[in-house]
């Protein structure tokens, strides 16, 4: 009994600060860096925003820190991707009902018919939807709608910001199309470590091949590597790509496999897939990240 009293008093002495932000602004929590960037663009200074994941974090493998608890406790609105991208975190958000919070799974606002489904299990979808700029615009629309509902006073600001951001995204779309058009259709083959770029491929006519499945737990099999190596040689693919949030070991193994068959394939660079670059850099924004990715892909694949 004395021990319990001791422990309780220990807890009591340590419980020092309870830092709920009370500047009257909406407290918004976001998960991936893409969503954080998007909500920053729409909410601007009118909201308090806390992103849970940093750059280079694989959302499937994200580990929460103690500070995240307080962020979530204080959250009024939570924006996340959904479709199981954030692993267990998605379950956590889904179960948060009745706690005075609004949780929005942005990817689930997209019509299911437009999503790329699993080959075997109908109810599971590829979650990497942000690589289709049109889908990302749907994200933005939803964010604006939710923020305006929750905070009608600033609704005007949100709508203005949305318009501005849409212009940026439209410009981005045009630029991407311009860069992609340079590359002949038969050379549009994108090979990466895991299947993050299916929506990108669908939008811009790329054949996308991932070495690993969607789950980062299963490793690529020997046969997968050999098959893909043969594929690379048959289609005369010039470059394969590493992803910032996935170890590059598997892609290097693939490069070796191609080499052992007396062919050469170069590593075209590092693409941002599940997370943006470091905050403060150009690649730290969605628009900058996409520009960087597309430039890296096309300049590595094109015949000079």
């Amino acid at each position: 009994m004395r021990k319990i009293i001791f422990l309780l008093s220990f807890i009591a002495t340590l419980s020092c600060k309870n830092e709920a932000k009370t500047n009257g602004k909406l407290n918004v929590v976001t998960t991936t860096t893409m969503i954080t960037d998007l909500v920053k663009n729409i909410g601007g200074d009118a909201i308090n925003i806390e992103g849970l994941m940093g750059s280079g974090v694989d959302p499937h493998l994200y580990k929460a820190s103690e500070g995240d608890v307080t962020k979530l406790v204080n959250a009024d609105v939570i924006f996340y991707n959904g479709l199981h991208l954030e692993g267990k975190l998605v379950d956590v958000f889904e179960k948060m009902e009745g706690q005075n919070k609004t949780q929005v799974a942005l990817a689930e606002t997209i019509d299911k018919g437009q999503l790329i489904g699993s080959e075997y299990f109908a109810s599971n979808y590829d979650p990497h939807v942000w690589f289709n700029v049109d889908f990302f615009k749907l994200f933005a629309r939803k964010v604006t709608q939710v923020l305006s509902e929750k905070d009608p006073e600033n609704a005007k600001t949100y709508i203005q910001n949305e318009e501005k951001y849409f212009e940026e995204l439209d410009a981005l779309k045009k630029d991407i199309q311009g860069v992609v058009d340079v590359l002949p259709k038969e050379e549009r083959i994108l090979i990466t470590a895991h299947d993050a770029f299916n929506y990108f491929g669908e939008a811009y006519d790329f054949k996308v091949v991932g070495l690993q499945g969607l789950s980062t737990a299963t490793e690529a099999g020997v046969q997968d590597v050999q098959k893909l190596a043969t594929f690379i040689i048959e289609h005369n693919v010039k470059a394969i790509f590493v992803e910032s949030s996935v170890p590059k070991r598997t892609i290097e193994a693939l490069q070796q496999a191609v080499k052992s068959k007396d062919h050469d394939v170069k590593i075209g660079g590092t693409l941002y897939s599940d997370a943006l670059g470091d905050a403060g850099t150009i690649e730290g924004t969605y628009v900058g990240m996409y520009r960087y990715n597309i430039k890296t892909i096309v300049s590595a694949l094109i015949n000079e």
């Binding site: 103690e66 267990k88 737990a217």
Partner: protein, 386 residues
């Protein structure tokens, strides 16, 4: 401190207790790694559950996971009983096999579904307060608090009911069998409890923390005591202390809670390893040094006993004759004087009555190896403590 923060600490403490109890027995039975094995071997259970339900959130997945945990335990026991391999080898044989069945099932049938232990089963302590149990519209607390609490209650009830049986079968299987309760049944019972605790706790707090909470507190307690009851209490204390202290370390560092608790568990073990009164490194080193000094003391006293001439008993002579360094001869002289075994007059050392008796007894003990002679000396001298 917010409610959420308090709830996390309560859940972590309950998990610590629920793990420390089976953990103590597992450590004593050299089966500590079974919890780590279970964390891997439950994969096929989860995969098959998913094939049946096509739903990643179905409770059937967790049920089948617990079942695969028990299968793991049964297989380990079966292999170990053949007597061909040891406990740890049996564990090492079983869990990779089961885990790879799971991996192959995923690779063959569900490569494009997000199916892994992380996504389905492993919980995160930080999020435990947000998954609440709501009965009839009332919020009765975090769900994992109830899950872990129930497991803990069952574990404690079983511990009190079968304490004697557990104790005997852990330390003396032969005796247990002759007293009429089957060590195998107790063993399977304990292992099933461990399996259910492990899977239930995985869902609440994640894998590494469960493995650490099962092993580290029990291992630390084992360094301090040999008494089963004390060991259980110490293991629980270490576990709860690490859970709460680790939580606050995570708070200060804004780091992973499970990671911090696990780190503190490691540091607690390190501290015990260094400072434990009997088996700790420092105690062992001190004892060894003391023993060396006492051997010297005995040599010195023998020398005095055997030599009557003054020249042999001069303080300075000791340095030359017995070939000790100055420091050491001083330590030995001090020790002898402190125990009233010698007197020094004009730099001449002579044995006292007590010193003489001590030497005779010690010699007697060394020759006959009979303990009775030196019973009263054990408290003062490490040399005679075996």
């Amino acid at each position: 401190m917010s409610n959420a923060q308090l709830e996390i600490q309560v859940i972590a403490s309950l998990v610590a207790i629920a793990c420390a109890i089976p953990g103590t027995f597992l450590v004593l039975r050299k089966m500590a790694m079974i919890s780590d094995a279970i964390s891997h071997s439950i994969l096929p259970g989860i995969v098959i559950g998913f094939f049946i339900t096509h739903d990643l959130n179905s409770p059937l997945l967790i049920l089948l996971a617990a079942l695969t945990g028990i299968i793991t335990v049964v297989l380990v026991e079966y292999i170990q009983k053949t007597g061909l391999v040891k406990e740890d080898t049996a564990i090492g044989l079983v869990f990779p096999a089961l885990f790879s069945i799971g991996v192959i099932l995923i690779a063959k049938n569900a490569n494009d579904v997000h199916l892994d232990v992380d996504a389905v089963l492993l919980g995160e302590l930080a999020f435990a307060p947000f998954d609440r149990l709501i009965i009839g519209g009332t919020d009765v607390g975090p769900k994992s608090l109830w899950v872990v609490g129930t497991i803990l209650l069952v574990t404690v009830a079983l511990l009190f009911t079968f304490y004697k049986e557990l104790k005997v079968s852990t330390f003396d299987k032969g005796l247990a069998a002759s007293l009429g309760f089957s060590p195998a049944i107790i063993h399977y019972g304990l292992m099933s409890v461990s399996s259910v605790t492990t899977v239930g706790a995985f869902d609440a707090v994640g894998a590494i923390l469960v493995v650490a909470l099962m092993i580290a507190p029990a291992a630390s307690a084992y360094l301090i005591t040999k008494d089963l009851k004390k060991m259980l209490i110490l293991a629980i204390t270490f576990g709860v202390f690490s859970a709460i202290f680790g939580y606050w370390v995570a708070h200060w560092l804004d780091a992973s809670i499970s990671g911090s608790i696990t780190t503190i568990l490691g540091l607690v073990f390190l501290a015990v390893y260094l400072f434990a009164p009997e088996k700790g490194i420092i105690a062992v080193l001190y004892r060894e040094k003391q023993q060396r000094t006492e051997v010297s003391l005995l040599t010195f006293l023998l020398h005095l006993k055997n030599h009557d001439d003054l020249s042999e008993r001069h303080v300075k002579h000791l340095n030359e004759h017995i070939n000790w360094q100055k420091v050491r001869s001083k330590t030995v002289l001090d020790l002898a004087q402190k125990n009233n075994m010698i007197t020094i007059k004009n730099n001449i050392v002579s044995l006292t009555q007590k010193g003489d008796e001590f030497t005779s007894k010690a010699i007697d003990y060394i020759i006959t190896n009979e303990d009775a002679q030196i019973e009263d000396m054990k408290d003062d001298f490490f040399l005679f403590r075996g």
